[in-house]
């Protein structure tokens, strides 16, 4: 179905600007399905202009300071409303030592659209929008990230791997929202990398891939491989991973694992790329990301 951009927000809504997470939980418990949380609005406002969503209540997270902060104690705890640009700056400035280990995260932030969008778009919005093409999702999957979900009555922390249900769908109930995303600090001998193919740099991925490798001498001690835009949800390439862990690393192995990843994904053809194209570039970017992640291992 083609929907047109109406250019203005036709739909009428009541706007809420709470200053605490408890107020958000209250509002969601009161308005449920008729409400929508808004972080940066870069997805939501486009969807509303195209009349794909018509929330009667919009709950902005902009004024909730704690959701814009990043703290560190064994894990990075990132407020859900942290902008992509702010996250990138935090990692680059405060964690030069983590640089190579979290290179996948910096790279995904850097390749995220344009400067304007990087300032507006948030990490929580990227995940909660649940686009199969969300750039940070594969990265966070390979970092074993968790998300903290809150409602008026409960709070829980779940692995990101359990968060996505389908295109645009997550496990979030109508009364729930995401408060934090946690990334365990990777060990010394970890390296990561991210690769993205898009029509122009400032565009949404046709395919993207993230890799994390834990290195023990010449052996791959542990690894994660995840891809975006290749399945209904951000995709963990488990068969490829199984062929990598425990092996002696080298270009042939990277090639072989890249091939396995390209075989196990389930890409579709859409406006951005054909399924066949996605499969062939998936092989290339997984292979290249593996080589780079290996180089990045301390």
């Amino acid at each position: 179905m083609l929907s047109t951009n109406t250019h203005i927000l036709f739909s009428e809504f009541e706007y809420h600007a709470p200053t605490t997470v408890n107020e958000v939980a209250e509002l969601l418990s009161e308005y449920g399905d008729s409400a929508r949380v808004m972080a940066g609005g870069t997805d939501l406002l486009v969807q509303m202009k195209m009349e794909r969503r018509r929330p009667a209540h919009v709950i902005s997270l902009q004024r909730i300071n704690e959701l814009h902060t990043i703290t560190q104690n064994g894990a990075l705890t990132i407020g859900a409303a942290t902008a992509i640009r702010a996250l990138d700056q935090y990692v680059t400035l405060n964690h030069p030592s983590l640089g190579a280990r979290l290179e996948s995260l910096s790279a995904a932030c850097n390749l995220f659209s344009s400067v304007q969008i990087m300032h507006m778009a948030t990490l929580g919005g990227n995940l909660c929008n649940a686009s199969p093409a969300a750039d940070t999702a594969p990265v966070l999957l390979t970092c074993d990230a968790t998300v903290t979900i809150k409602s008026k009555t409960a709070e829980k922390t779940v692995p990101l791997a359990d968060f996505f249900v389908g295109p645009g769908k997550t496990i979030l109930g109508p009364n729930e929202f995401v408060t934090y995303i946690q990334i365990p600090l990777p060990a010394q001998n970890t390296g990561s990398a991210f690769r993205k193919i898009s029509r122009v740099v400032a565009d949404i991925s046709q395919v993207c891939a993230a890799v994390t490798i834990v290195r023990d001498g010449n052996i791959v001690q542990d690894a994660r491989i995840a891809l975006g835009s290749v399945a209904p949800v951000p995709f963990c390439a488990e068969q490829a991973r199984a062929a990598l862990v425990g092996e002696t690393f080298g270009p042939e192995l990277a090639e072989h694992v890249g091939n396995l990843a390209a075989q196990e994904i389930k890409p579709i053809s859409d406006v951005r790329a054909t399924s066949a194209y996605r499969r062939s570039v998936a092989f290339v970017i997984v292979r290249d990301a593996l080589m780079q992640a290996w180089d990045n291992c301390g």
């Binding site: 951009n5 250019h7 203005i8 927000l9 036709f10 739909s11 009428e12 809504f13 009541e14 706007y15 600007a17 940066g40 609005g41 870069t42 406002l45 486009v46 202009k49 919009v58 902005s60 902009q62 659209s113 344009s114 400067v115 304007q116 969008i117 300032h119 507006m120 122009v200 740099v201 400032a202």
Partner: protein, 160 residues
């Protein structure tokens, strides 16, 4: 959906405007006469609607005007006047960087945000800063050169 009286500070002057929550900053600004802020794609792709908010460049088509309350907004007209143009204005004119001109306000504001942060940007940084601004006319070469020239000009007038 009740309108609220919002105070918007645009290019140094403050206006009280009654706006309903579904008004984007883009249309609030244009309705106030700031038609130097352009409406292009309306979905974040083209950068024609660029505005500086507290020094940061954002696309005003994807921002509710209520969120801009009590912030400093700057449009391209706020950078200088025909008598006292900003070095970016001057460089864009001198190099013939504009054709139809529609994209130029957004381009200049993206460049301004860059030069405020990196007075001596690398070519790579210039390219990155302009990557969210689409131009259908020029092919970008002169726009890129104009930002370089303005950076040199600003650099030579910077206090040591």
């Amino acid at each position: 959906m009740n309108p609220k009286l919002i105070s918007l500070t645009i290019n140094g002057s403050t206006h009280q405007v009654a706006l309903s929550p579904n008004t984007t900053l883009l249309h609030a600004l244009r309705d106030l006469g700031h038609t130097d802020v352009k409406s292009g794609c309306e979905k974040g792709d083209c950068g024609a609607c660029g505005v500086l908010i507290d020094g940061v460049v954002v696309n005003s088509c994807l921002l509710l005007a209520w969120l801009a309350e009590n912030k400093e907004l700057v449009t391209v007209a706020g950078l200088g006047t025909p008598d006292k143009p900003h070095p970016l204005h001057k460089a864009f004119v001198d190099l013939g960087a504009a054709q139809c001109g529609y994209c130029i306000p957004g381009m200049i504001l993206s460049a301004k945000a860059l030069l405020d942060q990196h007075p001596q940007p690398t070519d790579e940084q210039i390219r990155e800063s302009l990557s969210g601004n689409l131009c259908r006319c020029t092919g970008y070469v002169r726009i890129f050169e104009a930002v370089r020239v303005a950076a040199q000009e600003l650099g030579s007038t910077l206090p040591e």
